[in-house]
Amino acid sequence: MTADSARLTALAVSAPANLADDVLVEVGLADRIAPLPSAIGTLWVAWNGRGVAGVDLGDDGVAIAAEHAARTGRRTHVRDALPSGLASAVARRLAGDRRAQVRLDLRGRTPFEVAVWEKALEIPFGEVRPYGWVAVEIGRPRAVRAVGTALGHNPVPLLVPCHRVVRADGLIGNYSLGGPHNKRAILASEGLDPGALEDAARRGERLVGSDTTHVVCWPTCRHARRVSQRHRVTFRTLREADALGYRPCRACRPTAADAA
């Protein structure tokens, strides 16, 4: 009996070295980070079992991992590649496929920040909205500046498309992921012409309407882009459109705050 027990004890082997870390990552107490090639350079995507927790741009994965760890307070292991399912979901998402599900891990952020990011998620691929629109939509019309700050702190740029939020005067504005140059490149990759958008805004063409439907939109709204040149009218402000009997588009919901 004793001999049996002694021998059986020898069957109490150690777990594979990665088991504990796999568990901690799965429950969201540690993260992994891996590179993903993109049009604007190497993206570093950090994730755990709860979702993607960080996206950053750069060549030094170790430094980016250290920053991510400092920001989240979670140990962050560098890996060679994302799990294939996650890599393809992120790639599809970046290409504008809204059916690709990518869960996000935004723990530890303020309800205001999360509200701003969720609103940015509603802006369709290839369209832009002003900061003030986000502020109005989340019920904080006076918090335009805070909206800009929250977007600047977006931990998952590209997945939360803060690049689709632009300045009220039509200028493309700043961008946390490598500066404004990248913001323009990403918008261009979504089929927009940032220069033309800025030119139109400078000419005072802040809103676009159709003289047949009498609906007024943000210029990049899919409904505005369908209006033929012959029926296309532009406005400087929502009030101006309203005075001429135009009603705001239900899809893009142009706001007075930024049209003013």
Binding site: T9, V13, A15, E26, V27, L29, G49
Partner: protein, 191 residues
């Protein structure tokens, strides 16, 4: 940190104390899963699944309930249940008997050295294979009692059977194991 202190820490701050829990118990969770399921890959998945379930359960428990937990049998219960569910999904629970045959005749054992270590590893594999042939109702109590070293009162908690029944099952399991081991050329185990 002993398990009682660990339970207190988990009740206070689950996210801070969960890593020490995992580090302290990952090996035994894996060992139980390996000896119940027989396959290292299945065992790794089962142990991971069990510890993730443990985290989610703890996250849903009141602090008072966590403080009262006996962590060793509690975790073993989760591992055993995960293993059972995996077996029910149609995977063979254990290696087939042919894992025991076909081995070369054991070389004359010396006391240490590479040959002796290889022999020991080989014996361990044969013993594991013999264990894997036991019916689940004997194998699981034997694994918990003699590999994980749980007490009979802890076994009763894990398996929900009376201690007397479990003692009989462990006894019967060891007898079956001796027979299987003898068949596999491990006569010395029955000493």
């Amino acid at each position: 940190m002993d398990d009682q202190a660990l339970a207190q820490a988990l009740a206070r701050d689950l996210d801070a104390a969960f890593e020490p829990l995992v580090r302290a118990h990952a090996d035994r969770c894996y060992a139980i899963a390996l000896r119940v399921l027989g396959d290292p890959h299945d065992a790794e998945e089962a142990a991971q699944d069990a510890l993730v379930r443990a985290y989610r359960a703890l996250a849903s428990y009141e602090a008072a309930r966590i403080r009262e937990l006996r962590l060793r049998p509690w975790l073993a219960t989760i591992v055993v249940n995960v293993c059972r569910n995996r077996s029910r999904r149609g995977r063979p629970a254990a290696l087939a008997l042919d894992g025991l045959s076909g081995g070369a005749e054991p070389a004359a054992p010396s006391r240490d050295g590479p040959a002796a270590m290889a022999q020991a590893a080989d014996d361990r594999e044969r013993l594991a294979a013999a264990l894997a042939t036991l019916p689940e109702r004997y194998r699981v109590p034997v694994v918990l009692r003699h590999i994980d070293d749980l007490s009979y009162s802890e076994l009763a908690e894990v398996l929900g059977r009376p201690e007397g029944t479990l003692k009989a099952q462990v006894h019967r399991g060891l007898a079956l194991l001796r027979a299987a081991a003898a068949e596999a050329g491990l006569e010395e185990v029955t000493a």
